[in-house]
């Protein structure tokens, strides 16, 4: 199968997660992605390990984010290297960077400068907070972005204080938005034949993630979100029973449901708390508490049988150990295997997008630093 971005050449001047995760998306959709990395250290993510997990010299994290790419080591401060990069840029379709505002201007690879080398370039920029304003020079780090964006008042309970999402959600969503913007730019360029500038920031992306609830806030007289006080509550703007409940042997998730039906099915009297739709909001804490007492009395499987049969939206709450054993996990081929240089196998996830009924697998592992210098020099006649 021909992949849709086949023939598209991407130069990735990015580190860490946001930019490189966009590069990974483009690679899986068929583009050729070359990481441009500084000599010796390369992408700083190579050394950023979680749980001290490394594969040879590079962190497992780096391997996860940078599979299916090539690496070209070059020193942006060395005139000879810069000359080679100019040739490479003249042949590229897309280049992306996530330097802080002003850095690429100093090096001579600003959008304006690059357009002179390649008038059809698509130039992507990732920042933390945009190019101007008092935050423009602040470090664009995920937890900090979550903290200033209001996002931390949406999870957990009202007794918890701010609770951040336990993943780098602003990086990942920003990477998703960047990938969208770059592909829209390819479509635009196919029409106009001209260069396109694409800009995203972590802050704008995490605000977009909150677009539903911010819209509610903006049109509701500035009323801030009110989380429930009850453990397990799962959404500040949704009424009971929405949440996660402890059972006799685990946890049960219950989504939007007809409370009258649920209370009848599990034999839990809520008639003093629940009359109409509005009381499901007003008495949310008391309802969650009442249902919670009942759910504790039997096993998750018992409740699932009772509720699922009647079409109530519910599920067991799983950890990774149980989740990866699900038949659905296998059916969907969530995992793929990468082949490392020495033949060892590394398991990771595959692209979540299927095209013409085929999943976009790739066995190509992340490159060592500068792994592709020789062949790229030869191919593009850079020596």
């Amino acid at each position: 199968m021909r992949k849709p971005l086949e023939g598209v050449l991407v130069l990735e001047f990015c580190q860490f997660l946001a930019g490189p995760s966009a590069g990974l998306k483009l690679a899986d959709l068929g583009a050729r992605v070359i990481k441009i990395e500084r000599p010796i250290h390369g992408d700083a993510c190579r050394q950023l390990a979680i749980k001290n997990l490394f594969i040879d010299n590079d962190s497992l994290l780096f391997h996860t984010i940078n599979r299916h790419k090539e690496s070209y080591a070059a020193d942006l401060k060395d005139p000879e290297d810069l000359k080679r990069l100019n040739v490479l840029i003249s042949k590229a379709d897309i280049m992306v960077h996530n330097f802080r505002p002003g850095v690429m201007e100093k090096i001579g690879l600003s959008y304006q400068a690059v357009q002179l080398i390649n008038p059809k370039i698509i130039y992507g920029v990732v920042t933390g907070y945009g190019n101007e304003g008092p935050w423009a020079k602040k470090p664009g780090q995920d937890l900090l972005i979550q903290s200033i964006s209001g996002l931390t008042y949406l999870s957990g309970t009202s007794n918890d204080g701010p609770v951040p999402f336990g993943l780098s959600v602003s990086d990942i969503m920003c990477g998703n938005h960047l990938a969208q913007g770059l592909m829209a730019a390819l479509i635009k360029r196919a029409k106009t034949g001209k260069s396109v500038l694409v800009e995203v920031s972590l802050l704008e992306s995490i605000l977009d993630v909150q677009f539903e609830v911010i819209t509610t806030y903006l049109n509701d007289g500035g009323k801030l979100p009110e989380r429930s006080a009850m453990d397990g509550s799962a959404h500040a703007y949704l009424s009971a029973p929405y949440g996660i409940y402890a059972t006799a042997n685990g946890y049960l998730a219950l989504a939007m449901a007809d409370l009258a039906l649920v209370s009848q099915l599990i034999n839990c009297d809520i008639s003093d708390l629940y009359g109409d739709k509005h009381s499901a909001f007003e008495n949310r804490d008391a309802l969650i508490s009442r249902l919670g007492e009942k759910f504790k009395t039997a096993h998750t499987g018992n409740w699932l049988t009772i509720l699922e049969d009647e079409g109530v939206w519910c599920a067991e709450v799983l950890d990774y150990k149980s989740a990866v054993k699900l038949k659905a996990y296998q059916d969907l081929a969530i995992e793929q295997e990468l082949v490392l240089n020495d033949g060892r196998i590394l398991k990771t996830t595959a692209s979540p997008i299927r095209l013409n009924r085929e999943k976009l697998f790739s066995t190509k592992a992340a490159p060592g630093l500068g792994h592709n210098n020789n062949e790229i020099n030869e191919e593009f006649k850079l020596n």
């Binding site: 200033i148 204080g161 959600v169 539903e212 049109n219 996830t349 979540p352 299927r354």
Partner: protein, 387 residues
């Protein structure tokens, strides 16, 4: 010129996942026509349980469906299906998020639509794939968070599973669908070919967790362990987290613990010297840090840490955020108006193209507000309509 100018998207989807993808395409310049069920429309108009009703419909519907048109049809009527088919013949993209099998019954499955329009890009979102064990299971956000292990990452270790307080899996699936559609539209522009794009919420939820699940798969099956207090990432050591101060909260990302000890004048932290210790003894370190930071104001601590380039920030709610110049300079809020003059505020598209903000003043559509214009424009079979 917007990238998707002159592109036509016909969107049968409801709730959040599919409609968030078509919102993105609309902001990129495409014309999006929602195909809505007669009488009721997108269930999100009424059934989504947000407590705020704006102009008769849920606030959430207005956020997701601005910049779109509405075509109200009864897909059980042959003449309505015929009109939709006329529309699909002219469309560049079709989207739906019905459960597997529904579109086959209605006669709008990929093979049938591709026979009408071979170069259409057909996008669909399912909960758990279109074949296999769980294809009929409800694809609902909280259930997907729960089934994929996502709830074991947020909140403190003492808390049991904690959901992320937004429909994050819906939004991820929508983002991935938009990506697949854009890639396919590029292919269509170059090779004049159509394609089928499929996304499932389950695969999207795992793509979101690609770092943590890959760690799990290559770490001998060790489960993520959240810290006991101030947790922000199960896989990161101290100080990574949010801490209470005398008058608010401060978040601190990565930093060497003894350096923090010096800057904050907290000698108890000086002995935790290596990154390994910062991970292994993070509960203890975080407890010391929490006990210390509560004794001063947020601004005071920021004044100690920021000049030393420690990654830290104030913790803001929306009200604080929106008063800040750092927010105002983004111009993130736009005003939109509905056909009846009702106006509301909402966020804009987060992507800038050629320096332009992709704003649009067009609010969400009233159910069926565009029927007449769409029929006039696309359906030559006027006689069928008049019967």
């Amino acid at each position: 010129m917007r990238p998707l100018e002159d592109y036509l998207v016909v969107d049968f989807s409801q709730f959040l996942s599919g409609p968030s993808a078509s919102l993105r395409l609309a902001d990129m310049g495409a014309r999006v026509i929602k195909i809505e069920r007669v009488g009721m429309g997108d269930i999100c108009r009424s059934l989504y349980t947000s407590d705020l009703i704006m102009n008769g419909e849920s606030s959430v519907f207005h956020a997701i469906n601005r910049n779109k048109e509405s075509f109200e049809v009864d897909l059980k009527k042959a003449e309505d299906c015929e009109m939709v088919r006329e529309l699909l013949k002219k469309a560049d993209v079709m989207i739906h998020n019905f459960r597997p099998g529904v579109m086959d019954r209605l006669g709008f499955d990929y093979d049938t639509v591709a026979a009408l329009n071979p170069i259409i890009v057909y996008g669909e979102i399912s909960g758990y794939g279109t074949e296999g064990t769980w294809k009929g299971k409800p694809g609902q956000d909280l259930l997907l968070q729960s089934l994929t292990g996502l709830t074991s990452l947020t909140g403190n270790a003492t808390k049991g599973p904690v959901a992320m307080g937004l429909s994050i899996v819906d939004m991820l699936a929508g983002a991935h669908l938009a990506q697949g559609i854009l890639a396919s539209l590029y292919q269509k522009a170059i090779h004049n070919e159509g394609s089928l794009v499929q996304v499932s919420m389950m695969e999207s939820a795992y793509d979101f967790q690609f770092e943590t699940i890959t760690t799990f798969l290559n770490d001998g099956g060790q489960l993520p362990e959240r810290s006991v207090n101030n947790n922000a990432n199960a896989y990161l050591g101290a100080p990574y987290g949010i801490y209470r101060t005398q008058n608010g909260y401060i978040s601190i990302a990565m930093a060497a613990i003894p350096v923090l000890g010096n800057l904050l004048n907290c000698p108890a932290l000086l002995k935790y010297e290596t990154p390994t210790i910062a991970f292994e003894q993070r509960d203890e370190i975080k407890a010391i840090l929490a006990g210390h930071l509560i004794t001063g104001s947020t601004a005071y601590w920021l004044s100690k840490l920021e000049p030393a380039d420690i990654w830290c920030a104030d913790v803001l709610n929306w009200s604080d955020l929106m008063e800040h110049d750092g927010f105002k300079v983004l111009n993130m809020i736009q005003n939109v108006a509905m056909i009846d003059g009702y106006q509301y505020k909402t966020t804009r598209c987060p992507i800038r193209i050629d320096g332009e903000l992709l704003t649009s003043s067009k609010g969400s559509p009233k159910l069926g507000q565009d029927n007449e214009a769409i029929i006039r424009e696309f359906v030559q079979l006027k006689s069928v309509i008049n019967e």
